[in-house]
Symmetry: C2
Subunit: 275 residues, 2 copies
């Protein structure tokens, strides 16, 4: 199912005041793309419960297959993601036994290892186990707050913590296998060419021609520096039923465009793919 629609919602004031660079969104987008699926939209909002609920409601109305949220699952007052999801999906928040056990086990482990003084479940720790009704906790292999998953009509909502190491661990262990199963053999393939001696506006009509002949390959030009110091990265990407087909399509397209650029006096050199 290559037309699976995934939206990300990143929650955190630090992203809206420019304190934190949103590396979580990039990491998830790259991972999901590599798995053969597609992120359709990313929304970044503050830790305000009304804002979270509103953004989730609006996203639900666009009816994606998956909504993945990042941030706001911790023990502090401004960790409001689950409250926001509960409000948006008209569910109550209740203490989830399994989630509470997960959290309790973590604090006991920390205390036994001498890494934390007290193991008891304070209200701020119990807060992390308060899930929207019918939600399920997802085990967090490297931190305390569990991830959370909720089936809402046909939409799967997955809430991940904002701490990058925890987000990555939960995604790789519990979310990626699910998405890979949906994607099947479908593969994303990409590569880049570096062009010198030609500006973006001169390359544009050549891209038009080559994309017309190769409708499954997406070519995007990225000017590096000013347009007049012509150094353009051309990025080729495709999603195909298997790796062989994906590579074949990209190679054909790349060769055709390289020839056209060289005919017009441009210089072409391969750039190592960044994936």
């Amino acid at each position: 199912m290559t037309n699976t629609v995934i939206e990300l919602i990143c929650i955190g004031n630090e992203l809206l005041i420019g304190k934190t660079l949103n590396t979580n969104a990039q990491w998830l987008a790259k991972r999901i793309t590599t798995l053969g699926l597609k992120v359709h939209r990313i929304t970044i909002i503050s830790d305000n419960i009304e804002e979270i609920a509103k953004a989730i409601q609006e996203t639900i109305q666009r009816n994606p297959h998956f909504i993945i949220t990042t941030g706001g699952l911790g023990p502090t007052f401004d960790d409001k993601t689950l409250e926001g999801i509960a409000k948006a999906t008209k569910r109550k928040l209740t203490t989830h036994n399994q989630a509470l056990k997960m959290i309790e086990a973590k604090y006991h482990q920390y205390a036994e290892e001498g890494r934390m003084e007290r193991a008891e479940l304070t209200p701020h720790r119990i807060k992390m186990a308060k899930l929207p009704e019918k939600a399920k906790p997802i085990f967090n292999p490297v931190g305390t707050a569990p991830g959370v998953t909720i089936k809402h009509d046909d939409i799967t909502v997955i809430a991940l913590p904002g701490i990058p190491s925890e987000l990555k661990a939960i995604f790789d262990e519990s979310v990626a296998p699910l998405l890979k199963e949906i994607a099947g053999e479908v593969t994303f393939f990409e590569t880049s060419l570096g062009i010198t001696g030609m500006g973006e506006s001169a390359i544009a009509p050549l891209i038009d021609r080559v994309m017309h002949d190769n409708p499954y390959v997406y070519i995007k030009s990225h000017p590096r520096g000013e347009e007049t110091i012509p150094h353009i990265e051309l990025h080729f990407s495709t999603t195909a039923e298997n790796t062989g087909l994906a590579k074949k399509r990209v190679s054909k397209t790349l060769l055709q465009l390289s020839e056209l650029i060289q005919e017009k006096g441009g210089k072409v050199k391969p750039i190592k793919a960044k994936f």
Copy 2:
């Protein structure tokens, strides 16, 4: 007017496949915050014209004062921001004389300086001057594609190029002065404290108490590493009518929380503000 609502819309497939880290959004958010205003939401969408138009329509419905878009103003087929804005605001795209003159002058300058072979206006270059009706071009001091501004009812839409150097130059030269005038003397101030020897869930109730006593200061805890290797960054921020008041508020809050943390056995050290 400190309740000015600003939304950013970042347009570009490269952001949704994780190829590019969205440094533009962070840069703009930080700049706008430093000017004393607030970014309420950031939306990231693909280069698809329907998606752009839909995201802009949805944003218009939330009725912010400003919508600032990034990306999609260049000469290639997938630079569709102006088409998307035109569609969302039900305007035609027409070649704007002043914009065309700006672009023409740039290519003549490049050709005279020997940095580009041909100065003539090809269809792909003219494309950058096709603006939604009643839009105005904004001079681009370092690149070719002008920025664009449109008054739509009470909303000011500002479209900036995606190339970081061009985005920054247009913003600083033409957008920042306008926003500064709106913000007036209002100032954003922030600083951070580093905490060791205490986990996030133990600091949480202390933050609650201090924020209750200091409602104008926002305190956010950022766990660095795992919760059990307790290194927490506490970030204090406020927006106030003047710098003196902002600093006074933050200092008072910071002292109060530091004392509470030290009473509970935590260690406090100042972290240099990152702004």
